[in-house]
Subunit: 161 residues, 2 copies
């Protein structure tokens, strides 16, 4: 089973910007995600690419099945079947000690929220945290994108950072 | 937008069997379908083929996006992410006056249920009903496969036929 092992953190300050090597604009929506837990079906568009992704429930190791689909289909599915469960974010790739961190800067109703994610090879993999990384939120369902997609404001903790 | 226009009927007797030209065994499951209405995400396996299918809510015309996926993925998704929302049925292809009818004989907890479906090119297309077709259930959510998949018995009307 293909598995995504991911850890997720809040972000402190903007020192991460200095290390950014690449930027992608993501638009993504969710078909019928459960409240908080459960599997999700995501449609994501970035540049000329679009993907349909099924993710299992468990964090930080989640089953993940991803398939490329025609961008025109993805646009229609986002528009007609994802309701208002949409996310727009700018993903910044920031290499740090051999891993690529993804720093996602959200816009729209989630403006102000910035999350850093990193994919690991196995759950116990030692992780060198960059200095700009804040509290870990891997296990906090409120920070799952499928949950954020239904939110009208960023989770409250973000404001403390 | 790719659209599936489908009408669905109960089946009376088994005279349809004489016209059957092909049989496929289907196993399919659903990721997070809503109660009764709403979009669905289906995983279907038949023979060496597997498909991931997103369907919109509206009957008889529903948006439908279908993508082939590796059968091994489909097996895993069925097993690990569809819970007990599974359907097993034997599909019989029965040509009638220029259209191919699909007569689905369900098994497992839905044993005894037989439904006939036919795909149309447009919603108002005149339809010559075979003599073995019973009451139409196109608009009856209980007969949606995503709803049947959560049922432990066939809908009650079936028993009257």
């Amino acid at each position: 089973m293909p598995v995504e092992i991911e850890r997720k953190f809040l972000v402190q300050g903007d020192r991460w910007r200095a290390g950014c090597t690449q930027i992608h604009e993501f638009r993504q929506g969710y078909l019928m995600s459960h409240e908080g837990a459960g599997a999700t079906v995501r449609v994501r568009i970035f540049g000329d690419h679009a993907f349909l992704t099924i993710k299992g429930a468990k964090s930080p190791s989640r089953a993940e099945y991803e398939y490329p689909i025609p961008p025109a289909d993805a646009e229609e599915i986002l528009r007609s079947l994802c309701g208002d469960r949409l996310i727009e974010k700018r993903r910044h790739c920031v290499p740090h000690q051999g891993l690529i961190w993804s720093v996602d800067v959200f816009s729209g109703s989630l403006a102000g929220l910035i999350l850093a994610e990193v994919e690991l090879s196995h759950p116990e993999q030692p992780l060198a945290l960059p200095s700009w990384v804040g509290p870990e939120v891997t296990a906090d369902h409120r920070y799952r994108n499928s949950v954020l997609a239904r939110s009208t404001t960023p989770p409250r903790e973000k404001l403390k950072v």
